[in-house]
Amino acid sequence: MVNKKAQMKIQQMAFMLVAVTLFFILVGMVILVVYLSSLRETSNILENEKAMRLASKIANSPEFSCGEAFGAKVRCVDLDKVMVLKQNVELYRNFWGVDNIMIIKIYPNEFDGVDCTSENYPNCGQIRLSDSDISSEYSNYITLCRKETKDGEIYNKCELARILIDPREVDE
């Protein structure tokens, strides 16, 4: 009789302990999930911030920027340089940490949707560094300038454009 009572108590305690352990494991898991999701959120915020700033930064990097070739202009991209860059794009594949860069002329744009190639340049409306499509919303407005000639006179032709980047590792 005494033995049975003791066995019951042991069983009760064992069940209790297992329940308590399971409870704490569950609570721990919930905390871990909340913590990890906040970590992922922070990571995404920082990645997005990085991508937003990257578009401006790329426009100002020496491989793209006008420098002072077209006068002192802020956020100005030299289209002649970008055309040269397009021919050597393999070398710059990982350089800016983006998958692709695209520049679309906004105004005036008589050649809407026409990709720039060495054959049709400068009669084109957009330029993609890599041939792949761009699937991002990270963009910035820029001034797109190039050297042009009219009636034998050389002048700077500047147009309104948008630079789009396709950043890596951004989880939207």
Partner: protein
Amino acid sequence: MDKRGLEISFAWLFSLIVGAFILFLAIYGVVKLMGVQEGSIDAESAKQIEVILNSLETNFETSTKTILTMPAEARIYNKCDPYGDFGQQGIRVSQKSFGDWTRTNYEPTFYNRYLFSNEYEEGKTFYLFFKPFEFPFKVSDLIYLSSANVKYCFAGMNSQKLKDSERELKNLGQTNLLLNSEEECINRDDVFTVCFDNSNCDIEVDYNEDTSTGSVTKNYNENRDTVYFYGDALMYAAIFSEKNIYECQLQRLMKRTSKLAEIYQEKSALIARTGCTSTQAGYLNGLKNIEIKDSSELKSYISLVESIKSGGGGCELW
């Protein structure tokens, strides 16, 4: 005589063993979680630096400052690799936790950033400032990282050009950059004195105002390391960084210079169709193959760079 002694029932024994097991599991979980937490803070800090480094690309001749504050005492490691087409810049952040430095596997790398600092900078507050490097066209913004705990006292910036640099440093408003008289600088023990006309300082700068060239010697260093520079941007780089970091970043900068020279030469050919010709293009061959192993080799390119600068005629390429 009572022979029973201490009697522990099975229930007690069982609960003690299981209790100890639960306690062990809980402690193990907490320790693991703390490790993850420390790692995530390190990674988050590294990411923040990555964002800062990505955010700035100066347009014209300007210097900009950014302050970085860490949640705890931290070390920012500067890793430079000169190999490959453009070399590589790495950053690792480690924070102090219970007297030990944490270690994280997250190390952001960049191909287009050039960070000048010691091998690691330690502190809670860090200053970053940026200055464009031109050779003769803009190659990149150089980034100077220093801990607020490490103070530099600049003395002897007397010439006109150096006065401009002094003003520039003053405008940055970094609390770790002091601009005092030479006497005041030398009498302070808690600072690195940077002198421009005295060889009795921690950091000695030999500056040629006419050519903007010179050398920086670290006298506090056993080897009395000397590095050579061209222009103010590289002068600051030499002052704020260790020799191996400086030499490595300089090699990377020259690699980018060579690639940019190629772009400008091809651009020159492209715009020639509009009748726009540039006299600068002819000089670029000399820069297309620029490769240096050591900053002492820099001086062999300076006359070429100066010729390109002064020989600008026709259409501007940059």
